[in-house]
Amino acid sequence: MRDFSKCSSCKLCEIACSLKHEGMVWPEASRIRIYELIPGLPVISTCVQCDDYPCVSSCPFQALSTGEHGQVLVDENKCTLCGTCVYACPGKIPRIVRGKQSVIICDLCNGEPECVKICGEMGYHALQLVNKPDGEIVKNYLISPEDASFKLLAKAIGEE
């Protein structure tokens, strides 16, 4: 769950995620991404763990599966970087990153997401791990960063 108004755009979530998964500061390899197309109005973008997991079912190599916390898991040995899951995802969330041998998707850090932790420690509380609500409600987060940015701007400046 994410709160755009609480997100400060500090990107410590990206830093924490890459440190956890890659052992170094590698923002491109972060599974969570903050888009700041309009300065001051960040858009949080990451896997929402859809009910129907279109990415998982789309993979021709069965490289994707789900875990006990509802997260998507990537089998690095089976992934061929074909990119099918990227297009199956309504928000194009899975990413192919140069230097990585398999696609990257948020795995909820096995139930204790680092991004949520650091966001909370820093007092922003823009990210929260919650039990998934039923239905497709979470997919509504998969709006394009450009569209989301413009809506946030219109809201901020009181445009009609």
Binding site: C10, L19, V25, W26, L37, E146
Partner: protein, 609 residues
């Protein structure tokens, strides 16, 4: 080497080529990155010919550098430098921009622009590959409009990733206004030094950078990770008030409490307008809180808007310096007024400090009848946002009176003094071509000391003040290290922590003495270039002084009557020169150069004797 790549990306805009330049580890160890590295590279390239380098010619390199701490230490700053069109020296300006991270993720420690484009261009660097593209569709734009259009242009023109940060100039930079800044993220500016004009002289509208890799490996990753986490927590707690109130808190704290805030061109330094405080700004202008830069646990920024004459003005907070210089300094004590002027400065790509200073200078001259209505074309009045906005635009477009004011306070005073046959320097609140930051010295309650600005190698730069002891956080050596790290001042811990951090990233095992020697080395070399100066102005020991007004007593407030004392300044000056290993004229001695490993620059001293 650890923490840095050991190479810079150099672009020749005239030839349209680019190449990688190797920098040996020894150089980083002596100068770090950012301001220090830029000073070294510029001194090495130009030496005595520095005197003849015109900052507004395309021959002036424009350097965007990171440092060994970039990306590892909380927060981010990109160093911007070259030969400053304001001071004719190297000013290590900084701006918070993720371009610093993307450069480092591209496998480079920095980007150097040489020469110039014939037609408006933008530079796009993708994973180290350089493209120089046509910018005619965005030339002339600024602020939100520029950001939106450039985002689209990047997408169409080079299929850039939507997370591609950039720095840019506004119309002021395009018009080579000496108070123009290099802008980032709508409301951030590398203002000190006036490098917006340098970028405009190269006809470069923007620099966009995308890197796909990781940062360079560090010497002790586990230990560093622990340090990182504890630093984040410590900083976050200590800086809570900045997150809540922003630096706008200063409008009350520095104005009412410390009595060191510029009011009407520094003719006063105190106010008691309760609305002109962080609470007033919060209630009237903030729409989003908090707002932070990359890796920052403070989040001192907020997004502010003001609607005026049917237009929406959007900016950050504004930050203290902007609220002071485009607020109280111009007699504006309304938060909305300050937001309008701050937003306008952002949009035009002007440094709020330098421009607010020259505007204050102009309004005072008008008030005293020295500048006439005919010369200006309209009335100039303290607190009148309409005429002030008009004046700011005239400066950005070098129109009418804006032509001479666009030269910055020092040069405008010089030009107008000549034109009118009267010495106007007493109205110019600047040191060595750099307007003084919004923290005065007369009340004695704020942090600047009598020699803070007088002896800084960056003139009136309030973020690089000179002080004693030199091997401490009181001195310019400390600030020069921050500007070379490159570290944001609001996320610092103390010198021991920064040293520990540096050692864990690089593995250099420096001690505190060596740490401060880096600072001494940087400012000594900056000092030499400062004294060589040229081509249109240079400085000597007599310019190691405060603006004349700071010797005049404060007329209002709880410290009414307070002023600097000439004898005190002169005494501290002598002491400082001795401490720094400079002679009685403030010229670094040969022995000092030798001790700091700067022997190769000894011949440059001959120009100064």
């Amino acid at each position: 080497m650890k923490g840095v790549w050991g190479r810079l990306l150099e672009v020749d805009l005239t030839a349209g080529t680019s190449r990688s330049i190797e920098i040996p580890e020894k150089v980083y160890r002596m100068f770090l990155g950012g301001r220090g590295l830029a000073t070294y590279l510029l001194a090495r390239e130009f030496r005595e010919k520095w005197r003849f380098l015109d900052p507004l010619s395309p021959d002036n390199p424009l350097l965007f550098l990171t440092g060994p701490l970039t990306g590892y230490y909380p927060g981010v700053k990109l160093s911007v430098s070259g030969k400053s069109p304001q001071s004719n020296s190297v000013i290590g300006s900084v701006v918070s921009s993720e371009v610093a991270i993307e450069l480092k993720a591209s496998g480079f420690d920095g980007l150097v622009l040489k020469g110039g484009c014939e037609k408006p261009c933008y530079v796009y660097v993708e994973n180290g590959k350089v493209e120089i593209r046509d910018a005619s569709s965005i030339w002339g734009l600024g602020g939100l409009q520029l950001i939106k259009q450039f985002n689209s242009l990047l997408k169409e023109d080079v299929k850039a990733d939507p997370k591609t940060p950039f720095v840019y100039i506004g119309p002021a930079g395009e018009n080579k206004v000496r108070t123009a800044a290099v802008m980032a993220k709508l409301a951030h500016a590398a203002g000190y030094g006036g490098y917006g004009a340098v970028m405009g002289a190269k006809r470069v509208k923007a620099v966009a950078v995308k890197g796909y890799g990781s940062l360079p490996p560090v010497d002790d990753p586990e230990s560093l990770n622990t340090l990182f986490r504890s630093a984040l927590g410590n900083i976050k707690e200590r800086m809570k008030r900045f997150r809540q109130w922003g630096t706008t808190e200063g409008t009350w704290h520095t104005g009412y409490y410390l009595s060191s805030m510029p009011v009407k061109n520094w003719s006063e330094e105190w106010h008691n307008v309760k609305d002109f405080s962080h609470v007033g700004f919060e209630l009237e202008t903030w729409v989003k809180n908090p707002w932070a830069d990359w890796g920052c646990p403070v989040a001192c920024m907020k997004l502010s808007i003001a609607k005026w004459k049917g237009e929406v003005f959007i900016t950050d907070n504004p930050d203290y310096e902007m609220a002071a210089y485009l607020g109280s300094n111009l007699g504006v004590f309304s938060p909305r007024g300050a937001v309008v002027l701050s937003s306008l400065a952002d949009e035009l790509g002007l440094c709020g400090i330098q421009t607010g200073n020259v505007m204050g200078f102009a309004v005072e001259l008008y008030e005293k009848g020295i500048l006439t209505r005919d010369e200006v074309g309209y009335e100039l009045k303290w607190g009148n946002v309409e005429c002030l906005a008009r004046l700011m635009k005239d400066i950005a477009y070098r129109r009418g009176i804006g032509e001479v004011l666009a030269e910055g306070t020092f040069r405008a005073a010089r030009l107008l003094s000549e034109k009118k046959g009267v010495d106007l320097t007493k109205y110019a609140i600047q040191v060595k071509g750099i307007a003084v930051g919004a923290h005065g010295v007369r009340s004695g309650k704020d942090y600047p000391q009598p020699i803070s600005y007088a002896l800084s190698v960056q003139g009136g730069d309030h973020t690089s003040v000179a002080g004693f002891p030199v091997n401490s956080t009181e001195s310019e050596a400390w600030y020069s290290i921050l500007d070379s790290g490159v570290v944001c001042m609001f996320t610092v811990l103390d010198d021991s922590t920064l040293l520990e951090y540096l050692n864990k990233v690089t593995g250099w095992g420096l001690d505190l003495g060596e740490f401060y020697d880096i600072g001494r080395r940087i400012i000594t070399l900056q000092r030499i270039l400062l004294l060589i100066g040229g081509p249109d102005a240079d400085w000597s020991v007599k310019d190691d002084d405060n603006p004349p007004r700071f010797y005049e007593p404060l007329p209002t407030g709880p410290y009414k009557g307070s002023a600097l004392k000439r004898e005190e300044v002169d005494e501290l000056k002598k002491k400082y020169y001795a401490e720094m290993g400079w002679d009685e004229k403030g010229i670094p001695s040969e022995e000092t150069l030798r001790r700091l490993g700067l022997e190769e620059f000894t011949p440059m001293l001959n120009m100064l004797h």
